[in-house]
């Protein structure tokens, strides 16, 4: 139920930042719409008090599931001074969070995978009970860094989970032009660790696969590759138009793969919530997002002079 609430909140927040972009207030946004179930279920199987999360730019829902507030995310999108991730130096959702160990240094695809292996290596060397989860999309699977990271992690049996959200498009390039195989998860065998493909719209399927991977990692048995099949309901970013490269049938079929809708129907069908309760969840999420938007829009941008801070330790070399 809590997971569903996070999914709904994420959906409204996501819709809001697109709106803010269209109003000229948010420079750029990448949507997580369609990825919500997979992200909440994935995080649910871990322990944010000790685990590490290397995210990428589509990790809206994961960040909410990890306990960041809607205001914090909006500060990133609106480039406000108190953006906790990077003080508005970086694109939204990039940087590092001061409370949860989640970070995303870069826009360069797949650089986080070797870094995740390094984070996990440090935990292993220090005999810490921590798991590193690194997220990436199908596009990242083509990068050399992905191969290098999986190979290194396999050699050292590192407690890392490679979590691929496969929405079948690297911006506009479809899966069949990215790889000659049916399933990315099949590559895991070549590295010597398990790989599973699951339906990323199914919370229980994602949770089950993650729980097994987390247990494996905590037992010192090494990495797992999880490939969660999801839909990217919207274009790549606010600057993209997916009608240029997706057929209308392909766009149409996504309606049946909307994880928020699927979850809502399931919860009602199983009598876990009533239709009225569902409406209340939606209304409350919308209200929360309205409230956060009003608050953050009133906040200031960072002062220009703050851009000189944190180049290197100490006063630095600039100015």
């Amino acid at each position: 139920m809590e997971l569903y609430e996070t999914m709904v909140l994420s959906r409204y927040l996501d819709q809001r930042v697109w709106l803010l972009n269209r109003q000229g207030k948010a420079a750029i946004a990448a949507s997580a719409q369609g990825h919500e179930a997979t992200q909440v279920a994935c995080i649910e199987a871990t322990d944010p008090s000790k685990d590490h999360y290397l995210i990428y730019y589509r990790q809206f829902t994961a960040m909410l599931a990890l306990g960041t507030e809607p205001e914090e995310l909006l500060r990133g999108f609106l480039a406000r001074a108190d953006d906790p991730m990077s003080a508005a130096r970086q694109f939204p959702l990039h940087g590092a969070h001061p409370r949860v160990d989640l970070f995303n240094f870069s826009n360069v695809i797949a650089t986080q995978l070797p870094q995740a292996a390094g984070v996990a290596l440090a935990d292993k060397l220090n005999k810490r009970d921590a798991v590193t989860v690194v997220f990436f999309g199908d596009g990242a699977s083509s990068q050399g860094d992905t191969h290098e990271a999986m190979n290194f992690a396999a050699v050292h049996k590192l407690p890392v989970i490679f979590f691929c959200e496969n929405n079948r498009y690297a911006i506009s390039v479809p899966m069949e032009k990215q790889m000659g195989i049916e399933s990315l998860s099949s590559r895991a065998a070549a590295y010597g660790f398990p790989g599973v493909q699951i339906d990323g719209t199914e919370v229980s399927a994602v949770h089950e696969a993650m729980a097994a991977a987390v247990e494996r990692a905590r037992n010192g048995e090494g990495p797992t590759l999880i490939e969660a099949m999801v839909e990217r309901l919207l274009p790549h970013t606010t600057d993209d138009d997916h009608t240029r490269y997706r057929s209308s049938e392909d766009i149409e079929q996504m309606n049946d793969r909307d994880p928020v809708k699927i979850m809502s129907e399931k919860l009602i069908e199983h009598g876990l919530i009533s239709k009225e309760q569902d409406e209340a969840i939606h209304a409350s999420a919308q209200q929360r997002v309205n409230q956060a938007t009003d608050a953050v829009e009133a906040e200031p941008y960072p002062e220009a002079d703050l851009m000189y801070l944190h180049v290197t330790e100490g006063p630095g070399e600039v100015k």
């Binding site: 130096r89 984070v119 860094d145 290098e148 944190h310 600039v318």
Partner: protein
């Protein structure tokens, strides 16, 4: 005070720092039982074990990317790039990522990592075992780049790098590894990043250089004594941030500047040093800011004849000194 070579100074510094700080790990190609191709980590596996001396797969991007991740999570890794010529696959993890960790997270995360990069030519290394790769790193805000030329400086600067809370690129000139010897104190010391040193005082010409060229320049300066020319030799030691103050003080005193480097000159360290002098010493100059470097061809030919023609030498530097002194 024992006399060490540069490679011995590097080895002893890593050894003593790894004894002092258990968060330091060494990772790279053949650094384990082989001890590194230059034997920088000779005997390290026996002392520190395979957990701390990691023979990596042959993949430079992940050597640096894994080191970065480990650094962010509390370690102080040393990533060894076997030859500078092989660093290019790792450029993104260094220039694109490590350099921006502190900045891009507004100080929430830091990357205390050292990348040791044996570089430079004159060793019959041909196109892919001779390169000078300093410019790209020295151009990058967020990185520190040091290029010690002597055993004393190698120990002092490597110590500082290993204790720094930010990424430091340590450029070790391969030709100096066994060629350059000097006294190195047994007790620990460090040299701050960003400080050049006047290695030879003089009054007629300021010769600004670094790396192997320091040794050639000092030889050329001695040759110039016979011509009655008194050359001051400034060793940059750090390429980012460059010590403008020491350069300006020297050139303001002598009025003439010769910049010597092994790297091709276009858009290079010597370009930056020339700009610093031009901006700050205009009224003190008694001659044109002069640069000596190799020709603009891909460094550097394997043929001994062509390699010698490519590399600056003490004789070529001496000739440049004489020409500038005559102006």
């Amino acid at each position: 005070m024992p006399e060490l070579s540069v490679i011995e100074a590097v080895r002893e510094t890593m050894r003593s720092e790894m004894r002092r700080d258990s968060s330091i790990i060494l990772m790279g190609e053949d650094v384990g039982h082989r001890g590194g191709v230059f034997l920088a980590s000779d005997g390290f596996v026996d002392e520190f074990g395979e957990d701390r001396v990691i023979d990596t797969p042959l993949a430079e991007s992940s050597i640096c990317g894994v080191a970065l991740g480990a650094a962010v999570n509390g370690m102080r890794p040393i990533a060894e790039i076997q030859f500078a010529d092989f660093v290019w696959p790792a450029i993104n993890q260094l220039v694109g990522e490590a350099a921006r960790v502190r900045y891009g997270t507004n100080g929430v995360k830091t990357a205390p990592m050292t990348v040791r990069v044996p570089y430079g030519g004159g060793v019959r290394g041909g196109l892919y075992h001779s390169q000078s790769i300093e410019v790209l790193f020295a151009h990058t805000p967020g990185l520190s780049v040091v290029a010690p030329a002597t055993p004393y400086d190698a120990r002092g600067l490597l110590t500082t790098a290993l204790r720094s809370n930010d990424p430091v690129i340590v450029l070790e000139h391969k030709r100096t590894y066994r060629l350059a010897k000097g006294e190195v104190p047994e007790e620990e010391y460090s040299i701050p990043i960003g400080r050049a040193e006047v290695k030879r005082e003089g009054s007629d010409i300021s010769l600004v250089t670094y790396g192997l060229m320091l040794h050639y320049s000092l030889q050329a300066a001695e040759m110039a004594v016979g011509q009655g020319i008194d050359v001051e030799v400034v060793d940059l030691r750090t390429l980012r941030p460059i010590d403008a103050k020491t350069i300006i003080e020297s050139v303001s005193k002598t009025g003439k500047a010769l910049i010597v480097q092994e790297d091709t000159p276009a858009i290079s360290v010597s370009s930056e040093v020339a700009a610093i002098i031009g901006e700050n010493c205009f009224f003190d100059l008694d001659g044109p800011i002069t640069r000596l470097g190799p020709p603009e061809i891909p460094p550097m030919p394997f043929s001994p004849v062509q390699e010698a023609a490519f590399m600056p030498s003490p004789e070529k530097i001496f000739d440049a000194i004489v020409r500038l002194a005559a102006i």
